[in-house]
Symmetry: C2
Subunit: 213 residues, 2 copies
DNA sequence: AACATATGTTAGAGACGCTAACTTGATGAG
DNA sequence: CTCATCAAGTTAGCGTCTCTAACATATGTT
């Protein structure tokens, strides 16, 4: 996993926030709290997460986070954003070496989408499970659009379209819906119940073909 | 509309018509609390829901619910179950008058699924957004299986298969994934953003045809 | 009428979110 | 080097929340 050491300035902030802060007492409490939050969200589930417990894990007082985050919600949002970054990077990495314009690129994105839901169910749920519904943060919106944009680009190439046409957008939307729903179902029921009944890769290939033909 | 619930001796009856239990102090506090919970979950969102506020709305003390529910989680689960009953009934009602074996029955189910996500986003999120992930309640499992079963029955008839064969299960699973994902996306982004870009009924017809052919 | 039980109440413990006020330590100016 | 400044931590405490314990009362059975 991401070995966030105290000396490494690994806290890559997304646009909009102040520049990287230097190490004072703790080192990089902001990053440490995000990591603690991520762990707890995975271990106990997003509903059972508490700021206090994250503080205990980070070894600071319960008031410390409020020097870095406005409130609990912003702390979770920051953790979600960090997860979205990783998710996007992994999807892009999954495209490496796969021939341009091949439908296999679509399934590669889908497989990575599903993998994220299964490997990081807590973050997946925070990102897509409705937690962000009532939060108006442009960074959340941008992250989602970026992921969708990656898919649309591949769909356009697969269909031989010159760019993001209406037809591309429509097909992409259908594919996105399917993969999104499939991820949720697998996330809910677990790989054991449904992942063994159907081979995921075959399933994705099947759907990609149906949607792109 | 009958609640098909088998009760253990302590908890008598869910809300509904066949109230074999007479009115004591309140009348039917259990049903009142479920209704208050449902309202609050829709108004404030599941995350902001508190038992205390439901008590205020029902006009009882904050300790009263614990005579009817083990804890906050069970109170929310009861509310979700009530919503699942309504959801299932509405899906069945949507099939009335639609010719047997026609793919229109598939789209009718899908439209009702989506309608639930849009009309009752709070309950939808509680049911599918991961809240029930760590809760092992057979009634939750049964409810989901029932809805899936309705779809599978229609898929079998559409494909002309004798029963729930492996192929039916596979096609149904694909359709379910798509509708599930579509509901989530519309739930997230709202009908304004995506529902205007694409006509939902046409979208569903399109996908049904692709999946069933 | 008397009793047992279901259903409500008040009081309070313990956890949590968050704020106010104080303390500490790194940094840069002179 | 000294010191003022300010970021980043601390403790103390308020209000709210979940849930329990102990008590009070309605119901309906006998």
């Amino acid at each position: 996993m991401s070995s966030t050491e105290k000396n490494h300035p690994t806290s890559r902030q997304t646009a909009g926030l102040s520049v990287s802060k230097k190490a004072y007492h703790h080192g990089d409490l902001r990053a440490a709290l995000i990591e603690a939050t991520r762990q707890l969200v995975e271990e106990k589930g997003p509903d059972s997460f508490s700021v206090s417990e994250a503080c205990r894990r980070a070894g600071v007082s319960t008031a410390a986070p409020y020097k870095h985050f406005k409130d609990k919600t912003e702390m979770l949002v920051a953790t979600v954003l960090e997860g979205m970054d990783r998710h996007r990077d992994k999807m892009l990495a999954a495209l490496e070496g796969v021939p341009e314009g091949s439908p296999e690129r679509i399934t590669a994105i889908g497989m990575e989408y599903i993998a994220f839901a299964l490997n990081e169910p807590g973050i997946f749920r925070l990102k897509f499970g409705g937690f962000t519904d009532r939060i108006a943060d442009p960074r959340l919106e941008d992250g989602g659009q970026q992921s969708f944009g990656i898919l649309l680009t591949e769909v356009a190439k697969c269909l031989g379209e010159p760019g993001i046409t209406d037809e591309v957008r429509r097909r992409g939307f259908l594919l996105w819906s399917f993969v999104h729903g499939l991820s949720f179902i697998l996330h809910d029921k677990g790989l054991a119940e449904k992942g063994e009944e159907f081979d995921l890769h075959t399933l994705l290939e099947d759907v990609s073909e149906r949607m792109l033909s």
